[in-house]
Structure formats: C-alpha cells, structure tokens
C-alpha cells in the first residue's frame, strides 16, 4: 500500500488538463441550464435508454462522445441506463428496420411511465436517406409517439444537450409530454 502511494506521488498527475476550448462556453451554459431543469423535473437525473434501430453507427459514436471527459454530459444529470426498466426516456437512432420493430416496441413497453421518446439523427426522424427502403418503417414516429428530435447526421453532442433543453423547457410550460 505504501509502495503504491509513494509510486503515485512520484508519478504525479497522469491526466492532462482538459482544454477549455474543446467543448466551448455555449456548451457549458446550455449544460448548466439543462442541469437546473433536470433537477426540477426529475429530482436528480434523467435516465436515457438508447436503442439502435438501424443506424450507421455514427449516432452511437456521438452519443458516446457526449459522455467523454470533454463533453461529460453526466455532470448535467443525464445518464444512459442499461435497462429500459430504469429509464425515463427512450433515445432511438436509425430509420427503424423491419427486424428491429419488435425489439424497439418491447423496449418501449418495458419502460415504466411517465416516459417519452426522443429520436436522434436524421434517419430516426423520417427515415432520412433510407426513407424509400423496402425494409425501413421510416423513423420511430411510425411506431411510437415522439416527443423530441435531435437533428444532425450524426448530431453533435451539443445538439443532444440543446434538444433535451428544448424538451424540458416545454415540460415547464406544458406539463407532461405526449405519451
């Protein structure tokens, strides 16, 4: 134990300073607003269950980016739940392929209310470039009630924060989102 302690003293700080410029002041500002809204509506945190319903993988990569040490969306009270049972919101990516319809519906049904659906990326809104496919429903809206959309191909982490802000802001004025 002493050896490990001395060793870590000798090595000093291994991490590097996070560059303030990488996430930007707008991101910080939006994030703090989001944090206040989440505290008001959800107590401590907003738990999101993410489901890939046929995305190209870029949306997933950007959602993961939102959790990296630069954007670190968790500090604003947003986290990604491993089970739909623990989730407040369902974040859907991809144009909803035929093979994913059942899995998507079952995930939604497994969530306890109140719950709402957010679409992430252009494909999830209306099918995007895959709108005319023989195998796509053309977005999550064809199967589920959608409360908010995160635009982009793929959406930047900032777009995710902004979309959550807009949604929760609407909660402020309208009460419950459509279910």
């Amino acid at each position: 134990m002493t050896r490990i302690f001395l060793e870590s003293l000798r090595k000093g700080r291994l991490s590097r300073a996070v560059k303030a410029s990488s996430a930007g002041p707008e991101y910080e500002k939006a994030g703090q607003e989001l944090r206040a809204l989440i505290a008001r509506h959800f107590g401590r945190s907003l738990q999101i269950r993410e489901v890939d319903a046929g995305s190209c993988g870029a949306c997933e990569s950007e959602i993961i980016s939102a959790c990296n040490p630069i954007y670190d969306i968790q500090r604003f009270g947003v986290d990604f739940a491993a089970s739909p049972r623990h989730a407040d919101a369902l974040l859907v990516t991809g144009p909803v392929t035929r093979n994913m319809e059942t899995a998507l519906l079952r995930t939604y049904e497994a969530m306890s209310g109140p719950k709402f659906v957010i679409t992430c990326g252009d494909c999830a809104l209306d099918g995007g470039a895959f709108k005319d496919s023989y195998y796509c429903a053309g977005g999550a809206g064809a199967l589920l009630p959608v409360a908010a959309h995160v635009p982009g191909c793929p959406p930047h982490p900032m777009a995710l924060v902004e979309a959550l802000l807009r949604l929760l802001d609407r909660l402020n004025t309208e009460g419950q989102p459509k279910m």
């Binding site: 995305s55 980016s65 035929r98």
Partner: protein, 520 residues
C-alpha cells in the same frame, strides 16, 4: 493459368478479358462455375474476397453470379462469373469446399433467389423469416414489395447444443450499452462457452437497393451512410470503382489528401478501441484518456472536412482539398495524439491485471482465420500479414509495412491496433509533408460511362470492396458493398468458445466489427 484451367480441370472459358487495369474477368459456363472457383481458390491460396449476383435479365437475359479472388502476388483481382438461367437460376454450392463462400451464397439466395445445389445451410441471413415472407427477393429488378409490416410467422432455427448441464444464454438484439443490435446465443456448460452463434441483420436497411438508380455523385454521398464509423473508407472504395470505370487518374494532391484522411479515420477508431478494451475490464482511467484522445481526433476531422466523421470530403476524381494551415493543424494534432497514445499504452501494458485479462483470451488460430476469410486487424493478429494498402503505389513509396502478430488473442489484436496507430501517424505526417510541395489542382471532372469495376479501400476494420456497375445513363445499376465485418463475425464466433461468458465483451471489442457494414 487459362491453359492450366483447360488442361487440368477441363474447363474452357466462355470469355476472358482484362478490365480497368487490375481485374481479370473470367466467364465460364454455369456447370463449370464451381470447378473454376475451386481452381482459382487453390491457385491463389486466397479465400473468397466477395461473391455476389447481378440481375442482368434485361440486358443479357441472365442472372450472373460472380466470385472474386485476390491474387496477392500479381496484385490482380480475379473475377469468375457464370450466367444463370433467368427462370430457374441454380448453381453448384462452393461452400462445402470453400467455407468463406457460405455467407455470400446465403446472401445471393435471399436477395436474388439463386438456388444452390448441395448447400449445407439454406437459412436466410438478413431478411428475418419472422417478419419477411418467402419468395420476395429485393435485389431483383422486378421486385415487388410484400406489403406492410407484420409477422410472417416463420421461425429461425438456431443450432442446438445438447448434453447434460448444457444451457443457453440468449443476448440481444438490444444490449446494455450504447451499441449496435445483434443477437448472440451462447451455449455453455458450467463456465466455458461451448458454442456461440451470432445472428445479425437487425440493421439491414436495404442499402444496396437504394444505390440503384442514383447518379454516381449521389451514390458517393450515400456510400458514406453504409457504415458511419468507416464513412471515408466506404466512400473511397466507391469512388475508386467509379474512377476505374471512367479511366480517371486522380491527381497526386488528392491521393495524398485521401491518404491522410483514411489514416485519420483509422486513428480515431483505434483510439476508441483502446478505450473500449480498458472499459471492458473495468479500467476506467486509461478508458477516459482514450476517449479524450478520440475526441481530439474527431474535433480535428471536424475542422478538416466539416464533419467529425469525414463525410462529404471525398469527391469523384479528387477531394475538397487540404490547405497549408490545415496541414499545420494536422501535424500538430498528430504529435499531440502520439504523446497521449504512448501514455495510454504505458498504463495498459504496465497493469498486470489488465494483461492477465487480455493474454490468451479469445484466440483465433491462423488456420481458422484463413479458412473463414477473416481480414483486417483480426487477421493480422493471427499471423496473416495482409493489408490492401500494399496495393497502393502511394503507400509503397511511403515504406508501408503491415502490422503482424502471431498469437491471435485479444492482446495480439490490441498490439496490432497499437502498431497501426503509430504507423498511421507516421504515414499521415509523410503524406502531409509531400502534400505541401505537390502541384495543386482541383478534382478531375468525371463523366460517368457504362461499365463495371471493383473498388477497394483498406478501412480500419479491413478491406472494403465495392463492385459498381454503371448503366448507359451513368446511373448505378448495381453496387455490391463488401465490408470486412461480413466474414469477420464468424471469426469472433470461433474465437469465443472455450472462454467464459464474462470475457465475451473483451473478445467482441478486440474484433470490434460493424453491424451496419455487415447488415447493409
């Protein structure tokens, strides 16, 4: 070779021609197709690179089945084709002799309705029988949609492992993390996994059908959506095919710019994989460092291409171009990335508990990898030092050497990625220096003409192949995309048995294959 084929196998070709510089097209009678493919397989010692069908009933009154082998020494693609009957297309299955053909044959069966004689697996692949009725083949030109969604009422037959104490663990398609959908069925007895069956197709979006009818420029933009994490490599494979069809020679400036971006794509993904492996053993600190490194590289991409995933930068006949200030930025970012990278590797290699988890875990033997046709970093970690970048004069001039490890375990795959990360940084820096003095010009204008060609780019997962046929109006008639993941998934399924289920995430991440690239 043709003489050998005639004398030894008794196969006389219907036609033989050279196409687009590095392709040899051999057409044989349908009855000779299997023989000719076996001959090519034995001569080249190579697995099937891709096998696909084309519906040319309108132009040539035939379905065509084409099987592509890579003759590595000669740097030539050998395309063996046979025209099949338009009413009842049927051919002899290759899969009993060349295993790497098996998945491709199942694909051609469900997409075109090409029947195989003697096939050992006739299950559909991507069109799940639960939701898709029989007899509807989407890539036929006269395909009609079966109608709105609903249950088709058929089930998929998994392989069953039976015996005392054997139990099944089904996982997916929805997983606990932020990750693509796939179904993994483990059969285990006690702790070790006896069998893993991977069922995919959940992200099947019908991409190949959507290519058809687009202009070459529209299709180029669409190719970036096939696999978002390898968007640039997919776009490069497509533009390569179109440029080969049109006989366009891309200027040096743009070849260098493409080289830089291809390596940057490899770097951000390999950085993400280092972090992923650390996450999967619960080693948070290097995982966070790797996430920050990946973010730096994504931010650099955003500055260069206007897209963090390098979309929209590649053009037919060139690129959007890189300016001198951009090159400065690239070189500075590369230096900083290498520094961060060596820090992360020191932490990983210096941790006894991390090394204990990755050593001798998920071993893929070289023979298995070769027979399955596994490619990319996974193959290179199993002793198959093959990398399509060696085909490129640009990379050969830069002194490129593929990475290689022999053990085939998770650690070997990590080491291959680490070596490739450093090599990519070196190559990108070299390209950047060369680009400073290269003569500047805009992209060459490309007038799409009728024809076909095979495009190729070595993505961070392995070679992406893109067979493109342009029609008389310059629009895409057929685009067959082959992602390295397509054959790679079976490699994962073979590497897992003998390991315990908790090591599966680690094995999976060390391959890190693509769901959308596989499912199309």
């Amino acid at each position: 070779m043709l003489r050998l084929l005639r004398d030894r196998e008794g196969v006389s070709p219907v036609s033989f021609r050279l196409n687009a510089g590095d392709e040899a097209h051999l057409e044989v009678r349908p009855g000779d197709f299997r023989k000719a493919c076996l001959f090519a397989h034995n001569v080249s010692g190579a697995p099937v690179s891709t096998l696909f069908a084309e519906d040319q009933r309108a132009e040539r009154r035939r379905f065509f089945i084409r099987c592509v082998f890579c003759l590595r020494q000669e740097r030539i693609w050998l395309v063996v084709s046979a025209g099949l009957d338009p009413e009842a297309p049927e051919y002899d299955s290759l899969a009993n002799d060349i295993f790497s053909a098996a998945l491709f044959e199942r694909e051609a069966d469900e997409m075109f309705g090409l029947k195989r004689r003697g096939a050992f697996d006739d299950r559909p692949l991507r069109l799940h029988p639960e939701v898709w009725p029989e007899g509807f083949h989407p890539l036929r030109k006269d395909f009609r949609h079966p109608g709105p969604r609903g249950q088709a009422g058929r089930d998929y037959a998994f392989r069953r492992v039976e015996g005392e104490g054997v139990f099944e663990v089904p996982v997916g398609p929805v997983h606990a993390g932020i990750i693509g959908p796939g179904h993994f069925r483990f059969s285990a007895a006690g702790e070790p996994v006896l069998n893993l069956e991977i069922r995919l197709g959940f992200t099947h979006r019908g991409a190949e059908k959507l290519f058809e009818g687009r202009t070459a420029a529209e299709a180029l933009a669409f190719s970036e959506l096939v696999d978002g994490e390898a968007a640039f490599a997919h776009s490069l494979a497509f533009s390569d095919a179109v440029e080969k069809i049109c006989g366009v020679k891309t200027p040096e400036e743009h070849l260098l710019a493409r080289g830089i971006l291809l390596e940057l794509e490899r770097m951000y993904n390999h950085a993400g994989d280092l972090g992923g492996l650390a996450t999967d053993v619960g080693f948070g600190f290097p995982a966070a460092c790797a996430a920050a490194l990946k973010e730096d590289l994504l931010a650099l991409n955003g500055k260069l291409a206007g897209s963090r995933y390098l979309k929209g930068f590649n053009r037919l006949g060139g690129t959007c171009g890189l300016t001198v200030p951009m090159l400065d930025e690239i070189e500075a970012a590369l230096a900083s990335a290498l520094k961060d990278f060596s820090g992360i590797m020191n932490i990983l290699y210096g941790s006894a508990s991390f090394m204990d988890r990755v050593e001798e875990t998920g071993v893929l033997p070289q023979k298995t990898a070769a027979e399955l046709g596994v490619s990319g970093p996974a193959a290179r970690a199993s002793g198959i030092a093959w990398d399509m970048r060696e085909f490129s004069p640009l990379y050969r001039r830069a002194g490129f050497r593929p990475a290689r490890q022999a053990q085939g375990d998770v650690l070997a795959r990590l080491r291959v990625r680490a070596a490739e990360f450093e090599e990519s940084a070196r190559l990108a820096r070299g390209f950047s220096t060369a680009l400073r003095t290269a003569p500047r010009s805009g992209p060459v204008s490309v007038e799409p003409v009728e024809g076909c060609a095979l495009g190729c780019a070595e993505s961070w997962r392995g070679p992406v192949l893109c067979w493109v046929r342009l029609g008389r109006d310059g629009r895409v008639e057929r685009c067959k995309v082959t992602d390295p993941s397509f054959l790679g998934w079976e490699g994962l399924a073979q590497a897992v048995p003998g390991n315990i289920i908790p090591d599966f995430p680690l094995c999976n991440k060390s391959f890190n294959l693509s769901y959308p690239g596989n499912d199309l």
